[in-house]
Amino acid sequence: MNKSKWFFTPVLIWLGLFLIVPMLIVVAMSFMQRDTLGNVVYSFSWEGYKTFWDSLYLGIYWDTIVLSITTTVICLVVSYPLAYYLANSSPRVQNWGLILITIPFWINFLIRTYAWVLLLRTQGVVNSLLIHFGWIDEPLQMLYTKGAVLLGMVYNFVPFMVLPLYVAIEQIDRRLLDAASDLGASRWKAFWHIALPQSKAGIMTGSVLVFVSTAGMFVVTDILGGSKSSMISNIIQAQFLGARNWPFGSALSVIFVLTSLVLIILFSRVMKSRSDRTREGGNV
């Protein structure tokens, strides 16, 4: 065995103990039952998976996927122009831009999310201003809606999209854009045919980060969505902590991990250019 491979040992032990083993426990748990007191009964059962087919849970499952995809798309659309602008700015502007983007991370995530409550609630800043200027008579119900959850998600995860995009765009060889322009491409066409395909890796990374983070988030839904809107993570959390139905919670986790995997694989298939595929096949 190559000596350098030993460098991976710590990370392999870490991942094995704290990712693989817990995952296996969750998978095993999902095929068990619980008794009336909420204790896990160690005998095989499909009960957890059968419960999932309840229309209530299917609806939440679907909502979660839709919300996660919507968040990802909005983050992408909002972040790409920003990342593109930054990557093409002077080093000074780039530094300041990156600092501004990471500043929110200095503040606790819960506090940032609660700040939105102050802004959005019925007597909140936004409603007060709108009423003050006479644009509305009655305060709008903004808090505890799906829109508020979407807003909170986008707000929290935009940096996760901007940073990988910025890195990918910054690495594009500017001479390629010159070459495109020399060959008759307008600025827009040079962007579309050259810059955009060259930044695919960043789009891919950013989208997966945002999608997975959104799908696994329950705090934002709790704070901004109230009791009416739930995501699959809220249900999972409730099963483990509240309802004490660990097998069902595990079954939901397994289903959602598999769903995310399938979606990510599909997405990367679509994104993968032919050149990447030939590259994998080695030199022809």
Binding site: L183, A185, P197, S273
Partner: protein
């Protein structure tokens, strides 16, 4: 060479370029004829690439005008100029195959599909890339990438092809082969080539005319023969080929090493000196001779090139006389 009856292709009218107040290209006026192979030659930082980029449209001249085929294009972006640039490091699109790279310019100009196919096939055949069209740039050697860059440009049938040190990244043998190929291609196509290089040998071999640049200023414009046999400035005299520069109270003059003649006795010779080194180079050999000091002047080392017909055996340390025909003296501006 400018022959009568040729058509004017590019006209540079007093173009000047400054970067942050620093003059990179001093006001330059010149014309380039249709079908001409013109080379901008000079050391790095002399402004040759800046001139090329101004013609291509990537740089705006600080003042002056650029006229392409009778049309002022000074303010037009690169995509609105009927010329193409072969970039120094090729700038091939990594996510496209050879064919897609070559097709790109035609697609941008919305050339009909069938015509595209025809022209691509033509360009590919001319650059010997037929077997490689479905490869990606990273699967090609340097020389092959170079050919793709050229095919991608000539497929557009531009009026002018600009080449920015296109062979700079290749090894010597490949360079030599591609020089011949490029020259041949230029003759076949009849396109005006504006070629940038710092390699004087390359410039001599390929060009109809050479523009010698130094510090943003034109030192001389002329055919390779003119440049070699009658350099006007000190820079031109020493940058292209080897030269011996003599200074006299009347001014400086240059004599090429192959024009100097050594003789065994100092009697009747124009200068005298001691052989410092004898270098055997196969087809020729070189004598390095330290001339005797005359008055205040510094000791001068001259190079004499002798061809293989010279059968004398010259020894290091030997005192010899050096002469030349006064008509081979080229007066140069200081």
């Amino acid at each position: 060479m400018i022959k009568k009856g040729m058509v004017l292709m590019i006209e540079l009218v007093e173009i000047e370029k400054q970067f942050q107040g620093q003059v990179v290209v001093k006001p330059l006026s010149m014309v380039i004829e249709e079908g001409e192979f013109l080379t901008l030659l000079g050391p790095s930082g002399c402004g040759k690439t800046t001139i090329l980029r101004m013609i291509a449209g990537f740089e705006q001249p600080t003042s002056g005008n650029i006229v392409l085929a009778g049309k002022v294009v000074t303010d037009n972006p690169p995509n609105e100029r009927d010329l193409n640039l072969v970039f120094q490091h090729y700038a091939l699109f990594p996510h496209m195959t050879v064919e897609e790279n070559i097709e790109f310019g035609l697609k941008m100009k919305k050339i009909p599909k069938e015509q595209q196919k025809e022209r691509i096939a033509e360009a590919v055949a001319m650059t010997q890339l037929t077997a490689l069209t479905s490869r990606y740039p990273h699967q090609l050697s340097g020389g092959q990438q170079q050919r793709v860059a050229i095919a991608r440009a000539i497929v557009n049938k531009p009026k002018v092809l600009l080449l920015d040190e296109p062979l700079g990244a290749l090894d010597l043998q490949l360079r030599k082969n591609l020089q011949t190929e490029l020259k041949h291609l230029q003759r076949t196509l009849g396109i005006t080539f504006v070629y940038v290089t710092h390699d004087q040998e390359e410039a001599m071999m390929m060009s109809d005319r050479i523009v010698i640049l130094n510090n943003g200023q034109v030192e001389q414009i002329g055919t390779p023969k003119e440049i070699y046999s009658s350099p006007r400035t000190l820079f031109a005299a020493t940058f292209v080929g080897e030269n011996n520069i003599f200074t006299s109270p009347q001014g400086s003059f240059a004599v090429r090493p192959e024009k100097l003649r050594p003789q065994r006795s100092e009697e009747g010779s124009m200068k005298s000196g001691v052989i410092q080194d004898v270098l055997y180079l196969g087809n020729v050999h070189k004598l390095m001779v330290v001339l005797d000091q005359v008055g205040e002047q510094q000791a001068l080392t001259v190079t004499i090139v002798l061809d293989s017909t010279d059968e004398e055996s010259w020894r290091v340390g030997e005192r010899i006389g050096v002469s030349w025909n006064p008509k081979d003296e080229v007066v140069i501006q200081p």
